[in-house]
């Protein structure tokens, strides 16, 4: 097995031996060893759960950041469109009779204020 990290190293306290010890001392010794092993595995599980939670939170933060940047990108491209309409002064532009600079003739995109006279 290719070793990928510390957690992949085989523990010397495994359950490889399935036989029941015969002497009382051996049983007590294995009980004590397994008690330690159980505590270590429990700690490891807690760490995994905490990592999982933290990773989930990080994924959420990344998602929010992506959404924010996406919105900014949209706005930036909107401004670029504007600049494309009015490129820098050094760019020669041919103006025709058609009203390129004229608007669409409606108030879309404008804030309307009602006035009663």
């Amino acid at each position: 097995m290719k070793i990928k990290g510390m957690r992949d190293i085989r523990s010397r306290y495994g359950l490889s031996s399935k036989g029941i010890p015969k002497s009382r001392e051996q049983i007590v010794a294995e009980l004590a060893r397994l008690g330690h092993h159980r505590s270590r595995l429990k700690r490891e599980l807690d760490i995994w759960i905490a990592n999982q939670q933290r990773t989930k939170e990080r994924i959420q933060q990344v998602r929010e950041r992506i959404a924010l940047l996406q919105r900014s990108l949209n706005r930036a491209s909107f401004d670029c469109d504007d600049e494309e309409e009015s490129p820098a002064a050094e760019t020669p532009v041919e103006k025709s009779d058609s009203p390129d600079t004229a608007g669409n003739g409606n108030s879309e995109g404008w804030r309307e204020v009602s006035l009663e006279y």
Binding site: E83, D100, W110, L115, E116, Y117
Partner: protein, 315 residues
Amino acid sequence: MTMMNEARARFDGSDKTVLMLRPRSDFVETDTTREVIVRALAYLKTGLPVHFRGPAGTGKTNLALHVAAQLQRPVMLIVGDEALTTTDMVGDSNGYRYRKVVDRFIHSVTKYEEDAVQRWVDSRLTSACREGFTLVYDEFTRSRPETNNVLLNVLEERMLILPTGTRQDNYIKVHPDFRAIFTSNSQEYAGVHQVQDALSDRMVSIDLDYYDRDTEVAITAARSGLDHVAAARIVDVVRDFRETRDYDQVPTLRASIMIARVTVQQEIYPSIQNGRFVSICLDILGSKSEFTNEGREQRARRQKLILSLLERHCG
């Protein structure tokens, strides 16, 4: 307006606001006003700018707004002022737009590109020309004549010429739906400039005078809620006082509406027997005389005149 556009407007610093006009519930249209409206609309539909001129209190602004509403287009309203400049009309460069591009398309190569361009913000005339809105320029003769020079090309060549070097489109072709309505007071009014011939030559001027009695009664009744008979009493007093020419400031339809409104609010009938009504008339019509210490006799004489008119019409 979407949130994106609102945010963008704030970001740009531009005022992207238009007026949508609608008549008040007590708006009155009589045969006299209707005839003027029809004429004005005919000129506007031809593409000619219309200019309502006349003394204060003849309903110029109201008529201009009503005609503008009939065109069913968003409205840009400019009010003439001594301090108004061409910049206020067309817009100005306002701050800078800074842009920085970091290109890391190839991970081992980072390309930076930075530039800052002056940001141009359209003002109302430019927006109206560009978008084809209706421009109402109220009291335009209160602005200095050189401020209005920019209108010459707009009205004749249908071209708005912006200051050079401001932005790429220094020449804006005026939108075919763009229409302009002007109002102005008579030349003898305080704070009013003379209209340059070139500008007045480009517009159709419609002279407005004080409305006929029936129209004034109808407007007074509608604006105050008073019945027509009672409104007619007040209008007759004000009109006769106007005819005497014994005042420093012309008593207009506004005076009739003021008196009628207070009468309604105070729940009194317009009668000479009612002291409160007489006081209201003396206050409102008496204020048409200048207050000087030397003019006591004159004020007393004018008060007598108002009382005699009240006796005649509200007896």
